[in-house]
């Protein structure tokens, strides 16, 4: 079976080959990200059955275990990397026609780098290596946010840069502390002898790591950058940002808390934090006029729900969280891509101008409705299955603390239902505003319809047959939960 290292190496190679290809012919660079992501998807899907049996450990640079930089492709890692590859591929196809003006070549390079960063974060077993890939992901997304080059884009990018830099700095300090105490950088080794060290110094490093990764994972106090970044970035980029980037941050927190530190005592705090994020995200989204800002806040809300599910520390809880990551990734990518062309067609981003678009762009608005219904959690779609698993997990724990938190969370989902359905109502039943000039007549390009349609079909099929993803969730949850198996597996051979 092919080694997971290819998942990172090949796209990196292709990324740096783009400038050369760019010289050869103007039209080729647009297709390179598609090829890269296609390759990644094929590899990770083929890796999946093996990873399910046992995590694949890949050593690099030949040193003995505690000192070697190695990749651990467990079921969770491979599942997330295939999700990243899938969404990356579809957004890349969408980007072929969407990105016309501006530095197209640089866009493609950064685009591949961002996805490589995300894949790296998901697969790596070494904490410093985690930081490196994390940095790759953040820096490329800073640049892509400011891709439009207009004043709002640059300003949002700068703000994102400042907060991201601080976040990365904190992560670096955290890793430094850990390296100081344990001397090694491989997560498994740290995990093995973490209990032997005094708790306070350990806790400080954990706090730094959580806050650092939290910035990227859009947890409540730390997600100031997200609304501006997502709304001013081009739609394809904001699709990747909220579809993949913030989930990588959340994965990092989960990996740190569960595997590295095994700190189960902080979980209730994280649960409360998740619910607060959910409520804040939904409340802010309710009053929004700008569609992309609304979707950004809705992403914050869903992140809160995922964090809450992760903090349950039970197998079904984690599998629910992962399922929600998958369903939210698909749905939010779909919403951003669909709204991208709607904004392109109506010329303005506020929701009132999108009224009555159901007649002019029937397929796009139908897919938007499917995405919205899935996010709210209405049955035939994948959102329902993930929400169902999470609620089952919470009630499975049976602790009144979690059930009251769940009740508050459900109110959040009702708020989300309210504003999404108001938009859907606007599409089909509100008359189109007369004054909006017909921006660009003509059909939506084929390359935009394919990804959006495919995502909608995916949401519906996984919704009807959750078994496809269901099988992988169990082992993925165990991979995260039991540290000893992880340590024994990585250190053992």
């Amino acid at each position: 079976m092919v080694s997971p290292i290819l998942l990172i190496a090949v796209p990196l190679g292709l990324a740096f080959a783009i400038p050369v290809l760019g010289l050869a012919s103007k039209r080729v660079p647009r297709y390179v990200p598609v090829i890269a992501m296609l390759f990644n998807l094929v590899v990770s899907v083929s890796l999946l059955p093996h990873a399910l049996k046992a995590p694949i450990v890949v050593r690099t640079a030949g040193w003995a275990p505690p000192y070697s930089i190695h990749l651990v492709a467990g079921p969770l890692g491979v599942l997330l990397s295939s999700l990243i590859a899938l969404i990356g591929l579809l957004v890349a196809v969408y980007g072929i026609d969407y990105i016309r003006e501006g530095a197209k070549v640089k866009y493609q390079i950064l685009y591949i780098l961002m996805l490589v960063g995300a894949t790296g974060v998901v697969l790596t077993g070494d904490i410093f290596n985690l930081f490196v890939f994390f940095e790759v992901l953040c820096i490329s997304s800073y640049a892509l946010v400011a891709y439009r080059g207009d004043s709002t884009g640059v300003e949002a990018g700068a703000k994102y840069l400042i907060q991201g830099a601080i976040g990365s700095g904190l992560v670096l300090i955290g890793i430094g502390l850990v390296y100081g105490t344990f001397g090694t950088l491989t997560m498994a080794d740290i995990a093995a002898n973490v209990s032997s060290v005094g708790s306070f110094r350990l806790f400080v490093s954990l706090a730094f790591l959580i806050t650092g990764f939290g910035v990227e994972a859009a947890i409540f106090p730390l997600n100031g950058w997200l609304p501006d970044a997502h709304s001013s970035a081009p739609s394809s980029i904001s699709a990747i940002l909220s579809g993949i980037a913030i989930k990588a941050g959340l994965y990092a927190i989960a990996r740190v808390v569960y595997t590295v530190y095994g700190a189960s005592s902080i979980l209730p705090f994280l649960a409360v934090l998740g619910i607060v994020t959910l409520l804040i995200g939904e409340m802010c989204a309710f009053g929004q006029e700008d569609i992309k800002r609304l979707l950004a806040f809705s992403s914050i809300g869903q992140m809160g729900l995922i964090l809450f599910a992760l903090a349950l520390a039970s197998a079904t809880g984690i599998s629910g969280a992962v399922f929600l990551i998958v369903s939210h990734g698909l749905a939010k990518a779909l919403l951003f891509l669909a709204s991208g062309y709607m904004i392109y067609r109506t010329g303005s981003r506020d929701i009132s101008s999108l009224n009555g678009i159901g007649k002019r762009m029937p397929i796009m608005s139908l897919c938007f409705t499917v995405g919205a219904f899935s996010l709210i959690g209405l049955p035939p779609f994948v959102g329902f299955a993930s929400k169902f698993t999470i609620v089952r997990a919470v009630l499975g724990t049976g602790s009144t603390f979690f059930i009251t938190l769940l009740a508050i969370g459900l109110i959040g989902t009702v708020i989300e239902g309210a504003y999404f359905l108001r938009i859907v109502q606007g599409f089909y039943f509100k008359p189109a505003p007369e004054d909006s000039p017909e921006q660009t007549e003509g059909k939506v390009p084929f390359s935009a319809l394919v990804p959006v349609g495919l995502l909608a079909v995916l949401i519906l099929t996984i919704g009807l047959f959750p078994g496809i993803v269901g099988r992988v969730l169990g082992p993925a949850a165990d991979d995260l939960l039991d540290r000893t198996a992880y340590v024994q597996h990585v250190m053992g051979d």
Binding site: V204, A207, I280, C284, G287
Partner: protein
């Protein structure tokens, strides 16, 4: 016919109609009617087939649970009732909706709602019950907001309340799953017997909220008047006739199939047990909405408020758990379905012919132009009041008898006052629309088209048939009660045969018919009067002023001034107040994202400081 086949035809019908809509309108209409009638036939044909061979697991593994369908008397009873009302309203909307836009969407949504309801009724476990419940909710939402304008607001109100309800139900279902490990209704029945009454109360409360919202019990009813008056008439017939009664099906399922008769009756201490509070809620639901209906001037709002009012009777019947009461409650569900759907179709026909006029103060004298619609309205209101010979009377008789023999005269009193409120308001409906002077502009109004008259006459026939021979539906209800473990009633074809408290509708029917014939003979004995136009009327010697000689504005003005201050819908006002407060809070939270990078950095640092401070101060972690 296995329930799976029924569901497949239902959902396939919805999909095919949408596609046919793209091809040709006649094909779409034909397909819609065909699939509705096919459903009626399929369900009727699968009458007797209960028992194990009808339990079908159609999805073996859905997130670790299996989804099953089953057919038992209760399910069959509600299924045939859903299918018939849906078929009638689809036939009605053939001509009513002619010329309106987006008909493909309309017909497919109608059939989707119908399929959702059939799914609910046929589902064997709570997960598929929940899935079909949600499909029904959001397809109803899309149909309510079909008519643009104020309908959008009504739709939003509906969907928010039903979302809250379904979240509560989700929590209820999954706590059942967590407790007993299975969601199959049959298995849950035995499993729940052992659990503590507190837990059963929690389950009933959680599920009760969802069913209460759909059933429009008093505190949760505010969406219903707007939704009914804004929805398209054929759909509001389905909405009020059967969709609202899914709440009733839910209550029956949870209270009697799952929790079982014994535990229900002694749930909670002495005065505050569950079914007592439920019955008081039902009684209040009868009185207040009926008197609010009295003050409405819009025909459909009036009927909507009656829909809520009549719901109270079903709750009263069902709450006491006696076999007579439950039979009365179930029978009242389908009776109410028949005459409220009939009245909505009549209002739709009048609206169709007079160009969208529903205001009761501007109609009048239509009996001369639309006799069939008048006859439908007359039979409808007789059913709604519960006059003898109509089915409404029999079910109300059952409910009253339970209330009195169970020793609850105050509840019976509130039910009776509700009946009198109904009489006043439905007579105002009939009088302002059909009687009195025919205004000038409606002189050339044509009769209701044939495709509207068929459903109207069909419902009239059903109302009278079940009124005179109540044995037919009661025998089917008897089957349901056996499955729920109630004592059988001594039923006869024309009523109840038990001793002094017997009910014999056939005798009453013969008596009335003979008396009618005798009086008609007396009438013919006297001199034959001559027919005169409406202008030749007593006006103290002067000639009748055209257009000004019709009294319908502020029909019950003296009563209006006395009771209108008390009858503002306070619950609705409270919800709007709460919504405004929530909006205020949302505005406040939006202020957190100031858009200034400095504050965001401050947030990050302070979060880190908080974490470390908490650890230093209290060593929590």
């Amino acid at each position: 016919m296995s329930p799976q086949a029924i569901l497949i035809t239902a959902f396939a019908g919805a999909g095919l109609v949408f596609l046919a809509g793209k091809v040709h309108s006649h094909l779409r209409d034909f397909l819609a009617v065909l699939s509705s009638l096919a459903l009626v036939g399929l369900i009727a044909w699968s009458h007797g087939q209960y028992g194990p061979d009808n339990e079908i697991v159609y999805v073996p593994d859905f997130l670790g649970m299996e989804l099953a369908l089953r057919l038992n008397p209760l399910a069959w009873f509600f299924a045939i009732y859903i299918a018939i009302i849906n078929a009638a309203s689809v036939v009605f909307s053939l001509s009513y909706m002619k010329g309106k836009e987006k008909l493909g969407f309309y017909y497919s949504m109608m059939l989707l709602v119908n399929a959702g309801m059939l799914g609910i009724v046929l589902s064997g476990d709570f997960l598929s019950f929940y899935i079909f419940w949600e499909i029904m909710s959001w397809s109803t939402y899309l149909l309510i907001s079909y008519r643009r304008g104020p309908a959008l607001h009504a739709g939003m109100k509906y969907i928010i309340m039903s979302l809250v309800g379904s979240c509560a139900m989700l929590v209820g279902i999954l706590s059942l799953y967590a407790q007993f490990g299975t969601l199959q209704i049959a298995e849950l029945g035995e499993a729940i017997a052992g659990s503590s009454s507190g837990y059963v109360l929690f389950i009933l409360m959680a599920m009760g909220i969802a069913f209460g919202v759909k059933f429009a019990i008093l505190p949760l009813h505010t969406w219903m008047p707007d939704a009914h008056s804004e929805a398209v008439s054929p759909f509001s017939a389905v909405l009020s006739g059967v969709l609202v009664r899914m709440g009733m099906y839910g209550f029956l399922l949870v209270m009697y199939s799952i929790v079982g008769l014994k535990t229900i009756l002694n749930l909670g201490a002495g005065f505050f047990n569950f079914h007592y509070i439920l019955s008081w809620l039902g009684a209040i639901t009868i009185v207040i909405p009926t008197f609010i209906a009295l003050l409405q001037n819009d025909a459909k709002k009036l009927l909507a408020w009656h829909g809520i009012g009549q719901g109270g009777y079903m709750i009263l019947g069902m709450a006491f758990g006696t076999s007579l009461g439950v039979a009365g409650g179930i029978f009242h569900t389908i009776n109410h379905g028949s005459y409220i759907a009939l009245l909505f179709l009549v209002v739709g026909a009048v609206e169709y012919r007079t160009g969208g006029v529903r205001d009761l103060n501007r109609l009048g004298g239509l009996i001369q132009r639309m006799p069939v619609a008048f006859f439908g309205c007359l039979v409808g209101i007789m059913g709604l009041i519960g006059m003898p010979l109509t089915n409404g009377f029999v079910s109300k008789w059952f409910i009253y008898k339970t209330l009195i023999t169970e020793g609850h005269p105050f509840l019976a009193f509130m039910a009776f006052v509700g009946t009198w409120g109904t009489i006043l308001s439905v007579y105002k409906l009939l009088h302002n629309m059909f009687l009195g002077q025919l205004p000038e502009k409606y002189k050339e109004v044509r009769k209701a088209p044939i495709s509207m008259q068929i459903p109207i006459l069909f419902f009239c026939f059903v109302i009278f048939l079940f009124g005179v021979l109540p044995g037919i539906p009661l025998r089917a209800i008897q089957g349901i009660q056996d499955t729920m473990g109630f004592a059988p009633l001594q039923l006869t074809m024309w009523g109840l045969a038990s001793g002094a408290g017997a009910l014999n509708m056939l005798n009453i029917c013969f008596a009335i018919v003979i008396a009618f014939a005798v009086v008609l003979l007396l009438m013919r004995l006297g001199a034959k009067p001559r027919r005169v136009p409406q202008e030749d009327s007593y006006a103290a010697g002067s000639s009748v002023p055209a257009g000004k000689y019709h009294h319908s504005v502020e029909f019950y003005n003296p009563l209006y001034q006395m009771i209108s201050p008390y009858l503002k819908d306070r619950v609705d006002q409270f919800y709007y107040w709460a919504a405004d407060k929530a909006q205020g809070v949302f505005e406040l939270t939006r202020r957190i994202y100031t858009g200034y990078a400095g504050t965001y950095v401050l947030y990050i640092i302070s979060f880190l400081a908080l974490l470390i401070f908490l650890q230093l101060a209290w060593e929590i972690w």
